[in-house]
Symmetry: C2
Subunit: 162 residues, 2 copies
């Protein structure tokens, strides 16, 4: 079935939380407090400083991502994104579709580069995916992420020009 | 004269703005909008997510820095700081004193590393200073900063364990 990506609507909140909750509670890939409430999580993910999208397949929301400026002022031409896919839909190309969409959206908005600030080194699937999109590991942060299973692990800064 | 460093008080706002305004307006070292108002700048520099300090010499505020967690959740053991010294006081060791103070303050609060996310590569004085404190360039972000004089220049991610 075709995957479509669209801007969020107010009635997406339940679907967004269904996607975000397991990722936040696991605490293995995003530097977000595992104790965030639904409201805090939605406020973060759909904040006024970003655009938020959902990916749908057959009317079901199966993924979400946000696009924002990574920094203000002299850093505002560099975009930043975060992506979450439904955990029962891994391997179906949802993250790939969202990344493709986000790179085009970032270019349309005039961004000239995209940066991921903290890619957890144990998240090998994500690292491989971003590399396939031309992102490079431009930095390695020693022991910068406390992984609930693996303890302190390195994180990567990934970056590509647009 | 002795330099002392203390937590900010409400009546420091004028002194803080006097330090921040030229740095923000110049736009050469911090990724902050050059158009920030006084209120916006003070809200940023003294936000609830950080501790802010001033350095005084003979009763005059000659520098300020903040200390905060660089990320939430699994990244919350890594500190982040920003430092500003009075422009007519360069070379007097104010930044050095603030960096020393911040490393001790970060350790006291249980942080296990410190990260600077965007050190503008043309800010060679700062890069050399942080290196002298054991920070390493762990990442290089191509063209990540729009310098008002030099155009798009690289930025560094600098990092050290505590």
């Amino acid at each position: 079935m075709a995957l479509t990506i669209r801007a969020i609507r107010p009635d997406d909140d339940d679907d967004l939380w269904n996607l975000l909750e397991p990722v936040i509670r696991a605490g293995e890939t995003y530097a977000l407090a595992r104790t965030l409430t639904r409201d805090q999580a939605l406020r973060y993910w759909t904040g006024a400083d970003r655009e938020t999208f959902v990916a749908e397949v057959g009317g079901r929301v199966v993924g979400t991502y946000y696009l924002k400026a990574n920094q203000a002022g002299g850093g505002s031409h560099v975009a930043n994104c975060g992506y979450v896919s439904a955990q029962d839909q891994t391997g179906k190309g949802i993250a790939r579709a969202m990344c493709t969409h986000s790179l085009a959206a970032a270019r349309e908005r005039g961004f000239r580069a995209m940066q991921f600030n903290l890619v957890v080194s144990t998240n090998t699937r994500a690292v491989a995916l971003w590399k396939s999109f031309g992102f490079e590991v431009v930095g390695q942060l020693p022991r910068a992420f406390q992984h609930p299973v693996h303890g302190e692990v390195d994180a990567f800064v990934m970056y590509r020009l647009l």
